[in-house]
């Protein structure tokens, strides 16, 4: 049973990850994790100290738990640039700060880094308002490029096929064929996937109100930095890391909102999808990296069963702990820390995961998930 510890500042509670039921379990591992959360109150998604929080929590956990695999997500620059007007100089400075933070972490911790950028951000040129379709058109909370259209009328199809902001209208069958062999659930997958042109974002009912300034941009390839070997597709990262974990301790560092165009260090370009489809930053991209296989349907764009799940209340829209993740399959000790909110614990599958507890930028504290405890750390 995976345990959740939520720290709402001066108020900690423990829950069962699957059911959400309160737990009263006291053991050295959860006591240690409680203390770590207590020592590091989360400063907020857009706080200038947000990325520093990731490093500090990770270093604290490393000191105590001594993991061999560390998975980190740095997302402050993603949230800040998504919702704030920044001059090119300010944006550059923001990215520079992220990389200084990462380099400091690498130097202090001594882990061998594998750094992945999730893709560039680009200025939002215009919205594609599809709130008035006859069918149901939905775009997932943080997506810009994709929307799902279910049960459209003829009029809807004419509208979306002729919309200047829409790059492509893909039937479910065509989408599924592109990822042939990848499991999908028909009931969760819309009849049509709509693909926006770069710089355009879908706006449908259920899209959050907060106005974006930048959105994920064109990212058919993303940057990777590693001395461990060459890799040409994000699905190859898991194997690369696993093969090298026998010889060295590794930190997989995912840097949100940075792509080939803005990545400030030498890097290799890695394919970030298949054909016309590329991943936006989010659950599916993370899961593709950490499981080594495409996970495009784990959280399909415009999926239909809004908020229907009774289980895993702390885990967003994911309905079970994903299998075959890097952390989940690694025999040695592992940790994950991230400020990208609710899915860090699901996508990395590490023994101990710490993440911010913030929703739509509202900061309620931090959360840890203890998936398992490995011997020998005490």
């Amino acid at each position: 049973m995976a345990q959740v510890i939520v720290d709402a500042r001066q108020w900690q509670n423990m829950f069962d990850l699957r059911t959400g039921r309160k737990l009263e379990i006291e053991n050295p591992t959860n006591r240690m994790v409680r203390d770590v959360l207590h020592r590091h109150p989360y400063p907020g998604d857009t706080s200038y100290r947000s990325n520093r929080w990731v490093s500090e929590v990770a270093l604290d956990l490393i000191r105590i738990y001594q993991p061999r695999l560390v998975c980190l997500s740095y997302a402050q620059q993603y949230f800040t640039s998504r919702f704030s007007y920044l001059s090119p100089l300010e944006y550059e400075d923001l990215l520079d700060q992220v990389f200084r933070e990462i380099e400091d972490f690498i130097e202090i911790s001594g882990y061998t880094p594998v750094i992945v950028g999730t893709g560039d951000m680009t200025e939002l040129v215009s919205d594609i308002d599809l709130s008035r379709t006859d069918g149901l058109c939905l775009s997932s909370a943080w997506s810009a490029r994709y929307a799902g259209l279910s049960e459209p009328s003829e009029r809807d199809l004419i509208q979306v096929r002729s919309h200047p902001g829409i790059e492509r209208v893909v039937s479910r069958e065509e989408w599924v064929d592109l990822f042939a062999g990848i499991p999908y659930e028909r009931d969760r997958t819309p009849d049509y996937l709509l693909v926006a042109r770069p710089g355009r974002a879908f706006r449908t009912v259920v899209t959050p109100i907060r106005r974006a300034v930048r959105i994920p941009g064109e990212s058919s390839a993303v940057p990777v930095v590693t001395d461990l070997g060459t890799v040409d597709d994000i699905i190859g990262l898991k194997t690369l890391i696993e093969q090298n974990l026998e010889a060295t301790d590794i930190a997989l560092i995912v840097v949100e909102g940075v792509g080939l165009r803005n990545f400030p260090r030498p890097n290799q370009a890695c394919s970030n999808g298949r054909g016309w489809f590329y991943y936006e930053p989010g659950e599916t991209q993370y899961l593709t990296i950490t499981t080594g296989s495409h996970q495009v349907f784990a959280y399909p764009a415009g999926f239909l069963d809004l908020y229907d799940d009774e289980e895993y209340p702390f885990s967003g829209f994911l309905r079970e702990v994903p299998g075959h993740t890097l952390g989940g399959e690694f025999d040695g000790r592992s940790i994950a820390v991230g400020n990208r909110s609710m899915y860090t614990h699901m996508v990395y599958g590490a023994d101990i995961c710490v993440e911010c507890f913030a929703r739509n930028l509202y900061n309620q504290g931090s959360m840890a998930v203890i998936h398992r405890e490995k011997e020998g750390w005490r």
């Binding site: 001066q10 308002d129 709130s131 149901l136 504290g365």
Partner: protein
């Protein structure tokens, strides 16, 4: 010409739009600047909003417009309520009442709740939406700060079957300092109006050092109107001008609710993950008759509902509930039937 919707009674003309910036005057009439334009249209569990005593378990279509007649220093929706609505032009959902009702059906919602900003700033659109919702047997609810004229309060109570009033403090001083209005009196008057006319719940965000000393006064006031009014005490997460303020102590506020719990039958304390004070307790025998789970800003949900016929299964005490328990998951009867 003076606007008669809220207590500011702003002087309006064709280029003067009042405090909320949502109305203008033309040809001797007050008109909406952005009729049937919406900032949001989404889906939520009714417990998340929160309404705890209204169609428990139901699925609400949540809607909002733009602007507000308050200037709360800690506003959590400042990016929508405090901005000039004109800045949202081009980004507004343009949905007429018929389309709104169709959307509620397509999203499989049981009811519609206006919860983003202040409904008083969009009264004509909401009145029109109400007519369509009534015909479709779709109840409507709202959140209001209560700073409306008597006439507008009566109209709100007619349009909305359930209302959650934000009673943010209990003194003119607090309202002047933190909200930017002169007097609390119209709000207190309107709480009574709503309590007479429709189902009412009350919500109070607590800021330590600002309004926590007024908790007992609020409880006394509500109990004198009706001790069965559900009261939601919120741990405030300061935003807007007060972002950066320290987070209120959960245990400290909970201690302050002792008196309220002796006067009011349904006192809840939440807006933080894992709150222990989100269940409905039978006022007569103490049984937990409705159980909920709170994810703080991630929303609350119904966990268990034990009130057959809205009564405590243990002692038979009637529990105040508008409507009955509904299943969140509704049969998906398809979208196509709601095409135009």
């Amino acid at each position: 010409m003076r606007c008669a919707y809220c207590e500011w009674n702003c002087e309006l003309d064709e280029s003067k739009f009042g405090v909320c910036r949502m109305y203008y005057a033309q040809d001797g009439r007050i008109k909406e600047r952005f009729p049937h334009r919406w900032s949001s249209c989404s889906v939520s569990r009714i417990e998340s909003l929160p309404f705890y005593h209204v169609w428990p378990g139901s699925r609400s279509m949540t809607i909002g417009t733009f602007g507000c007649n308050f200037m709360c220093r800690y506003c959590s929706n400042g990016f929508i309520a405090r901005q000039d609505p004109v800045e949202w032009k081009g980004r507004m959902f343009d949905l007429n009442p018929d389309e709104m009702i169709r959307m509620a059906h397509k999203l499989r919602c049981h009811n519609i709740v206006f919860n983003v900003n202040e409904p008083t700033v969009s009264m004509p659109s909401l009145m029109e939406l109400h007519e369509h919702a009534r015909k479709a047997d779709m109840p409507m609810g709202c959140f209001t700060n209560g700073y409306t004229t008597r006439e507008a309060a009566d109209e709100l109570a007619r349009v909305f079957s359930f209302v959650n009033v934000g009673l943010k403090g209990f003194s003119d001083e607090f309202y002047r300092e933190y909200i930017g209005i002169r007097s609390i009196e119209p709000i207190l008057r309107n709480v009574e109006t709503f309590a007479r006319a429709c189902h009412v719940e009350v919500i109070t965000p607590v800021i330590q050092g600002a309004n926590d000393h007024e908790i007992d006064d609020i409880a006394r006031f509500l109990a004198d109107i009706d001790p069965e009014i559900p009261w939601h005490v919120f741990r405030l997460l300061p935003e807007h001008e007060m972002k950066g303020s320290s987070y209120p102590s959960i245990e400290g506020i909970n201690r302050l609710l002792h008196y309220a719990r002796t006067r009011l039958k349904y006192v809840y304390f939440h807006n933080f993950v894992g709150s222990d004070w989100v269940n409905t307790i039978c006022p007569k025998c103490g049984m937990h008759v409705i159980e909920r789970f709170s994810l703080g800003c991630g929303g609350d949900r119904l966990d268990a509902f034990h009130c057959t016929d809205n009564r405590c299964p243990c002692c038979g005490q009637e529990i105040r509930i508008l409507g009955e328990r509904l299943a969140w998951k509704r049969e998906n009867r398809g979208v196509a039937q709601w095409h135009r």
